[in-house]
């Protein structure tokens, strides 16, 4: 589903080159629920933005659902984002001027979908996240957890092949975070491929597979003595 090979991302200024990702390799299979963890500045978000085609990369290869994306123009990238990827952002990123229904409708409109189908999908997605009754509410009238559920509904409405979640519970309290996580797990059980960036070990432990990034590279925690003990202990505690 998502395969990056020797991928690099370099930010250049006049005086310095900074590698956000270096010789980055990852392979996410269809139907997997992968948590990407790592300390701040490790390159997690850069990985996610490149995976979501929100920005370009400097070198290497990236195949998304079998398509090599490096040569695609902006319109083609927009089309892939619209049709194949669902985004869940930490800050929800709902459009404050639009009500819940219209927010969920945004990607469907860009797909050129007919109104009856849009309505059916929107109400289906809102029903799925338990917010069908709030369709006419504006984001400011909802709690953080509800806003994130709307964002998930927006991501789901387009039936994407891949869900990318960036710290999806980062702005939520524990109870709300648990609800959102359970929703993601449910979506995964139904067959969705999910890649979730998080710095929260508890959340990461709920995923099927963990990928850890340090200094722009994927590392195997089991083979890195610096992290092995603490991480596995935390994960074990959470699972138990």
């Amino acid at each position: 589903m998502l395969k990056m090979t020797h991928l690099s991302k370099v930010y250049r200024t006049e005086v310095v080159e900074t590698y956000a990702l270096r010789d980055f390799n990852i392979d996410v299979k269809e139907g997997e629920f992968v948590a990407v963890t790592g300390p701040s500045g490790s390159g997690k978000t850069t990985f996610l933005t490149i995976a979501g085609l929100l920005e370009t990369f400097t070198g290497g290869e990236y195949h998304l659902d079998g398509i090599e994306v490096s040569q695609l123009n902006d319109n083609a990238r927009s089309k892939i984002r619209n049709e194949k990827i669902g985004f869940i952002f930490q800050a929800f990123n709902l459009i404050p001027d639009l009500n819940v229904f219209d927010n969920v409708e945004v990607p469907l409109r860009y797909r050129g979908m007919k109104a009856p189908e849009r309505k059916e999908r929107i109400m289906g997605a809102l029903d799925r996240v338990g917010l069908a009754s709030r369709a006419k509410h504006y984001p400011a009238e909802l709690s953080g957890g509800q806003q994130q559920r709307v964002a998930i509904a927006r991501a789901l409405a387009g039936s994407p092949r891949l869900l990318l979640a960036d710290e999806p519970t980062g702005n939520l309290d524990t109870q709300m975070a648990r609800g959102v996580l359970e929703l993601l797990e449910e979506i995964h059980r139904e067959g969705a491929t999910i890649v979730m960036v998080t710095h929260d070990p508890e959340l990461a432990a709920r995923a099927q597979r963990n990928v850890h990034i340090i200094d722009g590279q994927v590392v195997d925690l089991a083979e890195d003595p610096r992290f092995h003990t603490a991480y596995t202990a935390a994960a074990g505690q959470i699972r138990s």
Partner: protein
């Protein structure tokens, strides 16, 4: 167009800016429509044909330096005309009380019966001899010119009503709408019937004022020579291409003939370029003023649209990034802002149309403006909608270049 509903929904959440711009568009439309119509009216007024051979004509205001009797003045005029007509650059000359666009002159009530109390209409009166038509280059479309023996001298404070006249077609049609004016009579401030012996195609009135607008083009010519102690106008027609020569030679020749005269600085010697310039100075000034008002208003409206849209683009940068992340292309974002502006503009021009007609009604009641033709409102609507789309294009283009990564930046 598919984005109209969410755009309207978003605009409802930004009422202040939306309403202000829509009102600005509405006011601009109302003022610009009426201003354009005033400009059109003024330009049409300026362009009105006089019916005379303007490129080859000039007028001389001849003031006598001595007090002449009627007979002496008549003799002096006769001699002056012989002198003028003998000049190699001159085609013809006539003595007259005025000329088209002079800015004021003789004006008479017209009645159809000798004892009629209320006038039928009003006409500008020209006095001239048998050379009048040829000198002015007027086009006789029916009847005949004056004969020399029909021309009478008129002294100071004399009330002479010649029995024959040549009228403009406009006056002929006004008096006899069936087109059978030739040979028919009317009265003008006396009980003597005046018979129409000729009809000229066009002869503009001497004045260009608004009071005479209902009598536009209504002129008559009487076979009269003003033999008066003060002076007389000579209108001279130069041979083609010799206007400058004629204007230089004519005063010299007249001074050589008789030095006891003067040609005043203001209108002593004027050609039709100057006559037109002075006659329509206020119209031209008003047209320019209205044009400047239109340009300034349109510029302010465009600046308002650019300002508000730029502000909205800056304010919604993250939102645009989110839309891009969710699949919007550059073109989708561009269309979004163009459509948003179109909706505001349509609302503005809808209100502006009502305001335009209301303003026109007020102008009609207070300044005698005609009813605003629909085409001006339609043109104004198109201008403002295009202006809005043009003004919004640059900020919309900037918005379309917001990258999708903007969605992940902190708010």
């Amino acid at each position: 167009m598919m984005q109209i509903k969410p755009i309207l929904s978003a605009l409802r959440r930004h009422k202040a800016g939306t309403v202000l711009i829509a009102l600005q568009i509405a006011l601009t439309l109302a003022i610009v429509c009426n201003a354009l119509y005033i400009i059109h009216e003024r330009l049409a007024h300026i362009a009105e044909p006089t019916g005379v051979d303007e490129p080859n004509l000039f007028a001389m205001a001849n003031l006598w330096g001595e007090q002449y009797t009627k007979q002496q003045a008549a003799a002096k005029i006769e001699q002056d005309l012989i002198t003028l007509r003998q000049l190699p650059s001159v085609a013809d000359a006539t003595p007259t009380n005025g000329y088209p666009l002079r800015g004021g002159g003789w004006d008479n009530f017209i009645t159809m019966k000798p004892d009629q109390v209320d006038k039928t209409t009003d006409a500008a009166v020209y006095a001239g001899d048998e050379h009048f038509l040829r000198t002015f280059g007027l086009k006789l479309i029916a009847g005949r010119d004056f004969n020399a023996d029909e021309v009478r001298d008129m002294g100071l404070r004399e009330a002479v009503t010649p029995p024959v006249t040549i009228v403009s077609k406009t006056l002929a049609d006004r008096l006899y709408p069936k087109g059978d004016a030739l040979g028919k009579s009317f009265y003008s401030m006396s009980s003597t019937p005046i018979t129409i012996i000729g009809i000229v195609d066009t002869l503009h009135r001497q004045d260009v004022s608004t009071w005479s607008a209902p009598y536009k083009g209504q002129s008559l010519i009487w076979p009269l020579r003003l033999a008066q102690p003060m002076g007389v106008f000579y209108v001279v027609r130069a041979k083609p291409g010799q206007l400058a020569d004629a204007m230089r030679e004519a005063p010299k020749a007249l001074y050589a003939e008789n030095r006891m005269r003067m040609f005043p600085a203001k209108d002593g010697l004027v050609d039709y370029r100057q006559i037109r310039q002075e006659a329509f100075e206020r119209d031209r000034g008003m047209a320019i003023l209205m044009g400047v008002i239109c340009v300034v208003l349109l510029a302010i409206t465009a600046a308002g649209i650019i300002g508000l849209t730029s502000f909205w683009v800056g304010q919604r940068r993250r939102q645009i990034g989110v839309r891009r992340a969710l699949g919007a292309t550059h073109r989708d974002i561009l269309h979004y802002f163009l459509t948003e502006n179109l909706l505001i503009s349509v609302g503005g021009v809808a209100i502006g149309t009502v305001l335009a007609f209301a303003l026109n009604l007020w102008l009609k009641q207070n300044f005698a403006l005609e009813s605003l033709p629909l085409i001006y409102v339609l043109s104004g609507m198109v201008i403002l909608i295009l202006l809005g789309q043009g003004a919004v294009f640059a900020p919309a283009l900037r918005a379309s270049r917001v990258p999708p990564i903007e969605a992940t930046r902190p708010a």
